[in-house]
Subunit: 433 residues, 2 copies
């Protein structure tokens, strides 16, 4: 075992996990390092935030996924930095790992566009903890409204703002619309949850800016039917615990909306670790800090370091970088693994990475979605069934994840949401002592 | 509505929730107040701690359970005190609720027998948050062992101590045995999870002290088969992050066991709120602070205040107080509701509360349990099937909880555990900013 090629993979997201799996039969020792012990199925995280699924249902323990892969070990740890010249990764806890090939798939983090102080009032949907915190916030808002002292106060508790109308923002808004109008319909005595106002704010001229225009229009209509107000061409200038201040279009004056619940579904940026990696390898980055990679996903001058997933800046077409979505990460991770395997078998030339775009889809409420599959556009129930089918195929790879679909089926029939718990934040009597 | 009899119920556990449900057709306005928005199915909490179930699967939102009960409202809030003479409850947030009848079902909290500093190193299994923290601790211990620098360190990480061999302690020990020997079997490369040492420490002379002796012996044998070391007549004198110090029997010297994971499954005591209630009503209490109630579960001199569940001290037979288990709470809550309903209908005399003891059961690992049903004793698979059946009947009352059984069936067949996530405690990159 000692002399085998050592592959270190940083990050167990879509890119890292797929790279590891593709190295199953490689003549190499693979070490997958992640800060968390699980792979997170990020596209379903909004369902945790809205109480449909439990965290355990959108995640799979990395060890468990890779348990039968004998050449691979999983380590819980956080990378501090990469010493690219000495070919080693140093962890925060001091652990040092030599590598012959390195795949960096550490992903992105939420960007508040320089307004990090907004994070407190407007959590984003990036981690399991944040999803749980958002669920807490949403459910608590209805509780507070039920006990509000004045109609104004109740109204502020029943106003929900989602900033950013990409797929995540739309999915959240749609789910919120359903919670207010269906799930909680009979649950309160002093308020009507159906009177909740859900506002989706978008800086650009349309929702789902990355999708074809007809699907944007469809999506807006579908989410409107669920009772969501869509505000486009709106620039948020301030967020605090009591609401949102924003400017419309080219207007010079601002408006204020009282809302106790604001959720951030805006952009992403690079992590401090990735910025440091770029500096140390003198790699070029784009505005958001993504590392510009060669056509084989390696960093210029470092043919043994691959970047896959959200962190890679790679132009699919000239001037058109690939988006930070699961499909790009999966294919990038698999490509890096293939190159490493090929090199071990003595190959020298590899075709450049080519992203095979299977399309995009976003779910809008119950049994409704928009989809762009190989250029064909679908919306409504048919798009939702396709979404369900594609996610089914992916998720059942992980044992027991099939239950998610039983759960969905059940909730679809009953309008219920099984995971509506408000937990955490010092509510625990037994800790008071 | 204004002139109707007002019933306030404090606590949405087994006693409070059952009382509320039994008041469905009463000519009264019912207000159920709880600090949490959910009813917790406490007997299954150990399955959250051991990664079999998600928190959402052992809890049901109180609003959702009571949504169709038009005379009842649910409020999220924490009682600060009861002004028994003015007949009102004051919440911590300042809310004031007048009552005509009050049911106090606020339960108990973990007791460290005066050593509250042990809590840090040895969490107990009382809340969803603690169950998640214990899961975190257990899974992290295997991760740390995998990366340990020395065999001694690895051994300390692979040593798990459970203090207290009641039903919870046994259930935890059995589940831990299975995790080590089955679930994680193939997951690590540097350690053998099966070599983990699980020690169940008990102060008394046998496990399941409240059960008949033959079932204690059976249970000890079953848990031993799962690789658990049972230490009886052991007195714990110190717990810290590195292990447990204890004394055997009448020995004067202490022994030390290096163990990075210690879980407290010891006793319970009363809450500060309940102590205050006893003082204000000049009610007698037992040693652990439970309030001594009349034969109709009311506090002496306060016929409008009922105590149900863990907080009530009620002698089933002379000198034999009823134990703090779900069945007692359910029947106590239902009885209090019945008396209130009866009084509203003009009845004056009520038979004293009588606990109908259906028996006890404890699960020890997969498909194995001990049970004492109406005095008949069972163990092994048959006891487990009975346990499953009884819990099934109870849980399916709550919509969608039936999925728990699909999940169990699946995990029974595959030995997997779906909810093996290590979450929380600052592992979240996106919060670093």
């Amino acid at each position: 075992m000692e002399q085998r090629h050592r592959v270190v993979i940083l990050g167990g997201g879509f890119a890292g996990l797929n790279a590891a799996q593709k190295l199953k039969r490689a003549n190499a020792n693979v070490t997958l390092i992640d800060r968390r012990n699980f792979h997170l199925f990020q596209p379903l995280l909004y369902q945790v935030a809205t109480g449909s699924l439990s965290p355990g249902e959108v995640a799979a323990p990395l060890r468990s996924v890779l348990r039968r892969q004998k050449n691979t070990e999983v380590l819980l740890g956080e990378a501090d930095h990469v010493d690219a010249d000495a070919k080693r990764v140093v962890l925060r806890d001091g652990g040092v790992f030599q590598y012959d090939s390195l795949i960096v798939a550490t992903g992105s983090q939420t960007s508040y566009y320089g307004n990090d102080e907004w994070r407190e009032a407007a959590p984003s949907l990036k981690s399991v903890e944040e999803a749980t915190a958002i669920r807490h916030k949403i459910l608590l808002a209805f509780e507070r409204a039920e006990r509000a002292d004045s109609p104004e106060e109740a109204k502020a508790w029943l106003t929900f703002v989602i900033v950013g109308a990409g797929a995540t923002g739309l999915e959240l808004a749609g789910a919120l619309g359903e919670i207010a109008r269906e799930t909680l319909k009979h649950d309160f005595r002093h308020i009507d949850p159906g009177a909740a106002r859900i506002v989706l704010m978008e800086g650009g001229p349309r929702v789902l800016g990355a999708y074809p225009e007809d699907l944007s229009a469809k999506a807006e209509k579908l989410v409107w039917r669920l009772g969501v107000d869509v505000e486009k061409n709106v620039m948020v200038t301030e967020i605090d615990q009591d609401g949102v201040t924003y400017r419309r279009g080219n207007s010079t004056s601002t408006e204020r909306l009282a809302a106790k619940t604001v959720i951030w579904a805006g952009g992403v940026t690079t992590t401090p670790f990735a910025r440091q990696l770029a500096e140390r390898t003198r790699a070029a980055t784009d505005r958001s800090g993504r590392i510009k990679v060669n056509s084989d996903l390696t960093i210029p001058n470092y043919p043994d370091i691959f970047i896959a997933g959200d962190l890679a800046y790679f132009e699919g077409k000239p001037g058109k970088p690939l988006p930070g979505v699961a499909q790009v990460a999966i294919q990038g991770g698999a490509y890096a693994a293939k190159v490493i395997k090929g090199r071990l078998e003595g190959k020298k030339d590899f075709p450049p990475f080519h992203y095979f775009d299977k399309g995009d889809m976003a779910v809008i409420g119950r049994a409704s979605a928009v989809a762009d599959i190989f250029g064909f556009h679908f919306s409504g129930l048919i798009a939702w069934l396709m979404w369900l089918f594609i996610h089914l195929i992916y998720i059942v790879q992980f044992q027991s994840r099939v239950l998610v679909f039983v759960q969905w089926g059940f909730e679809y029939l009953t309008f219920s949401r099984g995971a509506r718990l408000i937990t955490g934040e010092g509510n625990d009597k037994s800790r008071e002592s």
